[in-house]
Symmetry: C2
Subunit: 125 residues, 2 copies
DNA sequence: GTAATACTTGGAGTTGGCTCCAGGTCAAGC
DNA sequence: GCTTGACCTGGAGCCAACTCCAAGTATTAC
């Protein structure tokens, strides 16, 4: 699969895909003899994984660390798990905070609705 | 209340508080005759509100718009409500996406735990 | 064979959101 | 009356995460 096909498929620009690879956010992508990237399904899997994690707000730095550990093989299993647990906990906290803000917004919107109705009544008088 | 007290109270640096005001993220703060900021409880309320919204990821730009509408008074009620609804919807989507990612991480962590146990068993043989 | 198109690289530029700094004012303590 | 400390302003600097660009190469279409 070419870079533009992968770009299309995941909604990430070719520049971003190259940047992710250069930064070590995904393992090195398979190449054709001439040096042109030829994404295997596995490469695509990494792209999808990283897109998902970035979408949830995990930093480039921490994802780079994860990939670096992955590249070192089985002896980093525990470290990788610890990293994932730490990020999971941080994500959970962020979600809880956002959930509270969501409820606050809902309340605020409800108050606005009341005020708007009250305003309209006044005008009709 | 001085800027450093407000900074202390909400965990935002004085620089950030000044930046928020200059950017129109909070309405102009009350001043003493000599020009020094003297936050009223209402000013503090705005700081707290903006801190909460920024914490949930609402952009400076959209919050600035909200404050600008607020400054124009009652005739912007509907517009302000629309803005809040749009942001609420975006926030909800982000939360849902993050929730999915959280579950994915939990699954991944469970798989790691199994693999680590399997590895240990092998070593004990 | 040459023009167009899709890729390559290294590196510079951009954006959002702060964060820091220089230079100045003012009130309080000695 | 002079130092100290907290504040002020305008503007520069910084960081994360892209995004764009120039210069080069390879394949395809005619």
């Amino acid at each position: 699969m070419t870079i533009s096909e992968v770009s299309e498929k995941y909604g990430l620009s070719p520049d971003t895909l190259r940047y992710y690879e250069k930064a070590g956010l995904i393992p090195p992508v398979n190449r054709k003899e001439n040096g042109i990237r030829d994404y295997t399904p596995e490469d695509c899997g990494w792209v999808e994984f990283i897109k998902c994690m970035r979408g949830a707000g995990l930093s480039i730095e921490v994802l780079t660390q994860y990939i670096a550990l992955y590249a070192k093989g089985n002896r980093t299993l525990q470290k990788r798990k610890n990293l994932l647990v730490a990020e999971r906990d941080r994500l959970q906290e962020r979600i809880e905070q956002m959930q509270k803000t969501l409820e606050r917004l809902n309340y605020k919107i409800a108050v606005y609705e009341e005020r708007i109705v009250a305003c309209e009544k006044k005008l009709l008088k």
